[in-house]
Symmetry: C7
Subunit: 95 residues, 7 copies
């Protein structure tokens, strides 16, 4: 991806919403629950704290992360819907 | 759990809502009161304060904690509903 | 009480609402005014201020305190309704 | 008064609302304007500023003060309605 | 005036609202525009900034000042309606 | 102008709203778009930052500036409608 | 452009909204999605942080940037609609 997040932002590709329920029924688009996890595509340089020290983003490209339902902003880049979030809007990372 | 909270967040497994009243009557799901206590499943690394010192999360895995009704965000991890909260949204810990 | 408040929080047992009016009439539950005073059951360790010094909670177990109508969060612990408040939500203490 | 305000709070006894208009007519209770002045009954120890210095409350017991219409919280202490305000909610003092 | 503003507050006597329009017509009370200028009657001691230095109020008794439509609080002192404002709510001073 | 802005405020004379459209049609007063540019009439002394250093206003009398639609407060001074804005509400200056 | 942004602001020329859909259909003006990317036309001097150090704007004239749907303020300069944003409202830059 040739898009570089600014500051402590990260770009995340959200996981696909489930197409079928656990019992195999197809789920209509508008009933699909918005996923709250995805894969990190790009990370910013980090931010400068009050004492002038750099605070790096705590995740790296390829990490699978969990974020809040209302975190971040959706943008369309090269036909792909991605999410730009601040590092602080990331809740957890899969190890 | 292979999910690592970021910063000063913790993952809590909420206690089950009571299935019966004190007098033994069954409580319908929608009438059950949402529990405000649970068990800590994972804790983050803590946060960095303004002077650059690390502030650790004041609870550990296995602690039973009390939190606010509106604290945290529910997420579903591996089919299990858990709560991600900031350390400051935890009110008290059972000793 | 085996519940330890975190940070600068305190646990308060609210005074009973008055059962009768000054002239001796019984007051129905829903008309009782919510008490704004109670007794301190447990206090947290205090909080760390911006310079890294510990700020202790200004009340101790057994103190009778006054707090705001909307201060704190009610929780039920071992069948007892108690209030968890931040130290700053306590207004005054009886001497 | 055996009630000690915490921090930079003060307890004020509001002046009585006027019983009659300038021209001598009686004013019904619900039409009386809520007074915005009163007498200081008790003052707290003050607060600690960011540099760890104590900032004392700028009024003393017995001072007559002016405060905002929406400042403070009314509480009933020993059958008396008093107001608990933060020092910063006091606007002016009569000399 | 025997009323001393606390902190960085000032007491201002608002200018009279215009009684007549430019063309000489009388303006009914409810249609008069609320004046946004007045004369300073009293000033507080100033406030203490974060470094412990005193910041004085930038106007003095007798100055004619301009303030915002919604700045300050009206109070009635000795039968006179005056305005208590923070120094920062004053916009400009006539030289 | 004998009106001195306080702190980091500036007084701006808004540009006249266009009287005619590009194609020459007259625009009724209520349909005119509120201008977002004007000329600086007066500037304050600037403000003191957290370290006690003076921060000067970044524009001078006579500068043509651009500001936000909702920035500042309109006041009428000597029959002239001007705008009082904080320096930070100025967006850009014409060079 | 002879317009200089103040502080850490930048002026961005938004990309044109798509005139046709992917399948070639014309899109009516009111149905066009507002673009969230554009080209930087001018940048401010940057801002001064709490320690008195200058923080430069992280983009330069000619950069293609991505910003939030609700970031910035539209103004019309010399017949051209441009956007004035704070550096922090820029999300990412194309490399």
């Amino acid at each position: 991806m040739n898009l570089k997040p600014l500051g402590d932002r990260v770009i995340v590709k959200p996981d696909e919403a489930e197409e079928t329920t656990a019992s195999g029924l197809y789920i209509a688009t508008e009933a699909k629950e918005k996923p709250q996890s995805g894969v990190v595509l790009a990370v910013g340089e980090g931010r400068i704290d009050r004492d002038g020290n750099k605070v790096e983003v705590p995740v790296k490209v390829g990490d699978k992360v969990v974020y809040g339902k209302f975190g971040g902003t959706e943008i369309s880049v090269e036909g792909e819907n991605v999410l730009i979030l601040r590092a602080d809007d990331l809740f957890a990372v899969f190890e």
